[in-house]
Symmetry: C2
Subunit: 183 residues, 2 copies
Amino acid sequence: MTTREEILVLGEKLIRLKGYNAFSYHDISAALDIKNAAVHYHFPKKTDLAVAILQSCHERSVKILEKNKYDNALDKLKAFLKVYADSYKHSMVCLVGGMAAEFHSFEAPVQKELKAVVQYITERLADILEEGRKEKVFAFKETPRTKALLVVTNMIAALQLERIMGKKEFTDIYQAVIKDIAA
Amino acid sequence: MTTREEILVLGEKLIRLKGYNAFSYHDISAALDIKNAAVHYHFPKKTDLAVAILQSCHERSVKILEKNKYDNALDKLKAFLKVYADSYKHSMVCLVGGMAAEFHSFEAPVQKELKAVVQYITERLADILEEGRKEKVFAFKETPRTKALLVVTNMIAALQLERIMGKKEFTDIYQAVIKDIAA
DNA sequence: TTATTTACTTACTAGTATGTAAGTTTGCAG
DNA sequence: CTGCAAACTTACATACTAGTAAGTAAATAA
């Protein structure tokens, strides 16, 4: 991994563990054993780093959710939900849930990028749900978009609650969501 | 309102608008036209302020959810959900959702208090849901506790998504949740 | 070989955040 | 009227944070 990539990965980790405003360039430079200015070399401002992290998250999401990767809706949904299960395994909240609270402390480019990620994720999930309902493997009474919002909010906040309470809230919610959608 | 109360109210507002680590004692002292040290007089450390804010939130929740305030489960549920609808009206996330992401940057007393609030809220909602099912006005297949977790996560993250996307995500989710529970 | 670019380090600045110590004002109890 | 406590202000200390300017070492291109 290049230094730039290491900064991106560690930066995302720090946001998802402590929050954006709770980490500093010093946290990154110390962990990677480089100097503060080296981080500024790759990402002049913290805003630049935040935007790059969100873009890499967006790209990752596209890879996971790209059409034709799986040929049935159930596998697509499982791939979608696995992202959150993996977050849970590493005691992290998802990037969106980790940045939402501090939204109004971000500069416009960060806000814009965060919006783009959320929009992409909810739209793709709505597609998957609609497809599954046509295939008769999913059942739900809401519109695909509304059901997608319900599922996404369950996942985002499940990770947050698990962190606070730590009594298998995530697993409960995760299994309930799958059971609820399965026709 | 006493200065102490004004600090508490403004502090909570700042957490819910910008996030805990994004506001400073200066933000409070400037808004209330007092000196920085005056805030420290009432709440020596930021941790003390956070704990006090969470306690006042806890007390408020107890007042709203106290047993025997309403005599039927539907009114109880409505009172519960109204808290989130009011947050939405003021473009704020709820305190729990606003602090979850930064959880690991808090000192132990803050973490403990946040946990207590979440625990109380989910337990009371589970009670309300169970009561409503007995009254045959609510219908759901999950356990009351799991259904409570599903509803709470919908509300918490709905406020967060609304903030990011701003295209009536909250209203969609809010109405879908009520429709889903109503028998 | 020389020039240029990449990826840094060294060294620094300006601003802000949390927090404290000591002094001041105001109202009230005895 | 005196003493005392509550609610501040003034002034300061410490530490960190974001960010910059200038220099360096190594690889690469002309």
